[in-house]
Symmetry: C3
Subunit: 167 residues, 3 copies
């Protein structure tokens, strides 16, 4: 637990103290409750687990399916609009920003959400969709849409906005 | 009402039971309250209608203007950040994901939001803007920006992220 | 204060009355609380300031760091998922839509968020990242990703969705 708080402090330049992180970081609270809900889901208390994550989404704006498998020290920064699907798998030390989604394409069954390696960064608004693999240390840029495997160490970017009119 | 719940269960592989859908699906609750607010808006209880939808947005993160016209069985999945504007029109059996927006461009007056046909899918984060038409059975991909008419049956995609660096 | 409400009414065609704007506009409430939190932050009551903005995010879905510098009459429309970072600077009369982000790239320290001029419009879902400048009267389109300076008066667009399949 403490290694998680320390890693958040290292990853967020706006973090001032552990007290502040514990009190006011929605992504830290969401993961805390996910750990409890995930345990309850595994021992078949599914409705209770879903109830907890329903309230987490209501209060913090972060939606994590209690059946998802999430490794150590996932830091969800800002977090509003994050969605992590039922069959998503996430490794250790990953970072996700607000609006980042590990979702489905609607074309697959059973395992239909991404498998994400260790130390992966998923930028704000990025949509990672389908039963694909994101390799260790990969970085997904803001608003990028990813529907194919990404090799370890790769950086994926969407299109940068271009200037079309000047005064 | 029951046909709506059944259609949600068919459309979402993570749905386990009707009880779960009624209790924990924000998009189902938002549409329930929208139906009431839309009725109140039409009989000129506008401030009350807006009050209801204000609280729906606060609790569920889904913003629907009470004057919007929405057909049967709209399923808003996940839903955080969805915006449906005042003059938007939506047909039957449509599906919208979180962050999907039926908004304006700021250049039009009166009818300034999209008209969406039947059985249309609007992906996560997609922004459909202006007084345009989206034809029946069209699919709008995640994060796509749409500012022109889309013919029936068409699929619209934004740009897929591309890999720019590998280890 | 009144000039702010009047400017909101002018900018939003869906606004019917000042009463409605005061009661039901999340972006108006968020800015009201930000002004108080920003004052508290400057007199070193940082934890209290962060607490206020934590609750604003929880209730309204809008995240503004209390240390950010925001000019007069910023109108945040819809607002769910907006993030304004610690070292962001915003001029007067700007408009931001839901999901718009003034964030960091993770590569910079100290001043690591954008500086935005006067009368700038930032569209829904747009991500403006890094210590860059956005000139007066610029417009950033929906879902655009901006990581370089934008000159005054320019319009920046992301990629418009393209049709890939027709019936």
């Amino acid at each position: 637990m403490f290694s998680f708080l320390r890693s958040v402090k290292e990853r967020d330049p706006a973090a001032r103290s552990y007290l502040q992180i514990i009190l006011f970081y929605p992504g830290v609270k969401a993961i805390f409750w996910y750990r409890i809900a995930h345990f309850l889901y595994k021992i078949k208390l599914k409705l209770l687990a879903e109830c907890i994550m329903y309230f987490v989404r209501m209060v913090h704006g972060i939606e994590i399916h209690p059946a998802a498998n999430i490794g150590k020290r996932l830091f969800i920064d800002h977090g509003m609009g994050v969605v992590i699907g039922e069959t998503a798998v996430i490794g250790d030390d990953c970072t996700m920003y607000h609006g980042a989604t590990l979702g489905g394409t609607g074309k697959e069954h059973c395992k239909r959400h991404p498998t994400v390696g260790n130390n992966v960064m998923i930028g704000a608004g990025a949509k990672v969709l389908g039963n694909i693999s994101i390799g260790d240390n990969a970085k997904i840029g803001a608003n990028a849409v990813v529907t194919r495997d990404v090799p370890a160490g790769a950086t994926v970017v969407g299109t940068t906005g271009r200037i079309i009119i000047r005064d």
